[in-house]
Amino acid sequence: MDLSRMTATARPRSPWESIDLGFALARTWFLPLWLCWWLTAAPLALAALVPLHRHPDLWLLLVWWCKPAFEALPLHWLSRALFGEQLALPAAARSLPRALPPRLWPQLLWRRIGMGRSFNMAVTLLEAPRGGARGQRLRVLRTGAAGWLTLVCVHLEAILWLSGLLLLAFLVPEGLPTPDLEAAIFDTGSAPYWIASLGMVLAMSVIAPCYVAAGFALYLGRRTELEAWDLELAFRRARATRRTGRLRPGSTAVLLLAVLLPASGTATTMTSDEAEARIEAVLAHPDFGGTREAQVWVYVGDDDAQPDEPRVQAQLPAWLIQALAEGMKWLLLIAAAVALALLALPLVRDLAAGRRQHSAPAEQPGAQVAPAEADAGPPPADLPAAVRRLLAAGDVRAALALLYREQLRHLRAAGVELPDSATEQDCLRAARRLGEPRRLAYLEQVVGAWQAVAYGHRPLEPAAVTALLQDQDTFAPAGGRG
């Protein structure tokens, strides 16, 4: 591995920066990475169709389970590309046996389920540690960000799949059969399920380059951090400068130490005692010794600041401060109560309005234009006498109005609901529901006479009204005229 050929800048990165770098790498080389993924996935998926063509769920499970195998080639390609060797697709296909070593098998068996796959694959396939060395190496390099990366990518995969599915469903033109989304998820034998499964594999293939690249970038970041790749590269550049005679003499020793240190290339496991001894040995070098004094300005506050407030507070008697605080408290409470009341008032008004159910106008507009029953005054104590008096005065209309209203009063007394808004026909309909033919016939006579006189302005003999008056007592409610 020649670090100087690295196409990405080697510098310490936080895990999220590393993942970001990985996504940037995936964007740069998406097509080759995506094709590499399919180079492995397509043969297996097609081959699995033969035995599992009746079981799309099992087919999908198999494809999902073999994802580590599909990710090996993109990882292999990426590890080469990062150091300047971008393999063409045929060359990548030829390197497939190298990219799928036997040590991949555990990744497909007992190590398949795990959150750190993207990171572990890089260690396992690129460094190829054997046996316990693998575990020891992973313990050194371990980073929790790999788990989060898996979680994020799983969600991205699901979102992509679901979005694609819904988009497909929404784009089906009207008139064609409506896509059955429920079958696409639950009905394993249906065509929608196959489409959904294919969509899922497509979503896997789209996310896989990002996942592999981000895991690989995490691996690089971790090694850069632990093995100081950035320092190594800096020293190499410095050595190259020295060769040209421009290096300051004071750095020579450090440079030599860095270049010649045998363990500077790889992070290794050591005990804390060994590490401490190593650190002390390095720090004992003259370049790390010495004491330097430095003077800086530090703000210590404003000298002219006058501590007036505490003095005023000290001068005021405690009872006054207490009274002021108490007064302020009550003032605030009253203000809060007023504010609450002001806020609640419109609510109460709205509730009251809602209870009225938009029932009544603010006034009866037009009441001054023509009187309604309410303005006709209370019923007379002696109806026959009142009717005869009106007839004698020649006011047939008023006499009939009295009779008509009296009949309505009787109907109400009989349990018929008659609002003031009921017109003549409304009253007759209500009377029909009462089921008393004689009362109905009489009411029809009264209404007919009333309408002809009042609205039709037709003359009516007082004798006809008198005849109606004589009959009306028949329908008076029990217990007198009331």
Binding site: A353, R356, Q357, H358, S359, A360, P361, A362, E363, Q364, P365, G366, A367, V369, A370, P371, A372, E373, A374, D375, A376, A398, A401, Y404, R405, L408, P419, D420, S421, A422, T423, E424, Q425, D426, Q451, A452, A454, Y455, G456, H457
Partner: protein
Amino acid sequence: MTTATPPPAEQLAAARDALTQVEAQVNRAVLGQRQVVREVVVALAAAGHVLLEGLPGMGKTLLVRALAQALGGRFARVQFTPDLMPADITGHAIFDMQSEQFHIRRGPVFCNVLLGDEINRAPAKTQAAMLEAMQEQQVTIEGQSLALTPPFLVLATQNPIEQEGTYPLPLAQLDRFLLKSYIDYPGADDELSVVRTVTAGRVGDGLDLSAVSAVMAPAQVLEVQAAAAALTLDDAVLGYALRLVRATRDWQGLDSGAGTRAAVALVRAARGHALLAGNAYVSPDDVKAMAPAVLRHRVRLGAELEIEGWRPDDVLAELLAAVDAPRA
């Protein structure tokens, strides 16, 4: 009390018979929409224009064509589209090369019954072209006013505003329509009759007006309208109509109520209703019966009621139940 001399009983009976026949003829073509047909015939008697609203395929155009056929006058139909120009309706001046003069080419508005099909598909400018014709019974082309031949009746259909590609009618034009009728889904039996009648021995789905015959001449329409206008109208009934209209202005839940033209329209419609009922006078029942059709397009619901799914008819029903009827 109104001072108009009531028409003789014979004239009333003749007018009523004529209207009843028209109603019967239209009902032969349009099944299951008796309420709407009645309202349209009332508008005919009241010399008012009608706006028919309903979903496509509910028989709006059929109703209007059946009415035109029953009336026997000149009928014209304008299909409103987004690119329709005002001159396409009213007419325009063209230059005659031979006489070297401008001649007026009259548009489809010069007729007795004008069907404005899907009027809300045209933009407001074109809709407004009909304002003058509807209100003043005349059209101005190149500065020249041309009177329309009475009777002139506009029956416009529109799809509900919620449908895509429609322009709401301007309030000023809405007010010009005497009535707005809803064509709703017919009952199951009526719908069965419609499908059976339309599909029995016929090819295609063209409008079938073969059952409708002309039972009224344009001159007779004018007589009927004159009879309706001369019906006795008591002050109590007039006051009731006015109370209803004024109540819409203060009613909670209505952003704007009906104007004075609405009160006039309500009384005119009530006259038509009374004539169709065979009465020589207008009663509160006539007013109450016509109030929803007259007022529903002249009131505007508040946002709160709109959100709650109320329709103008719901509010008007409450209003009718709250305003006192005359009893003295």
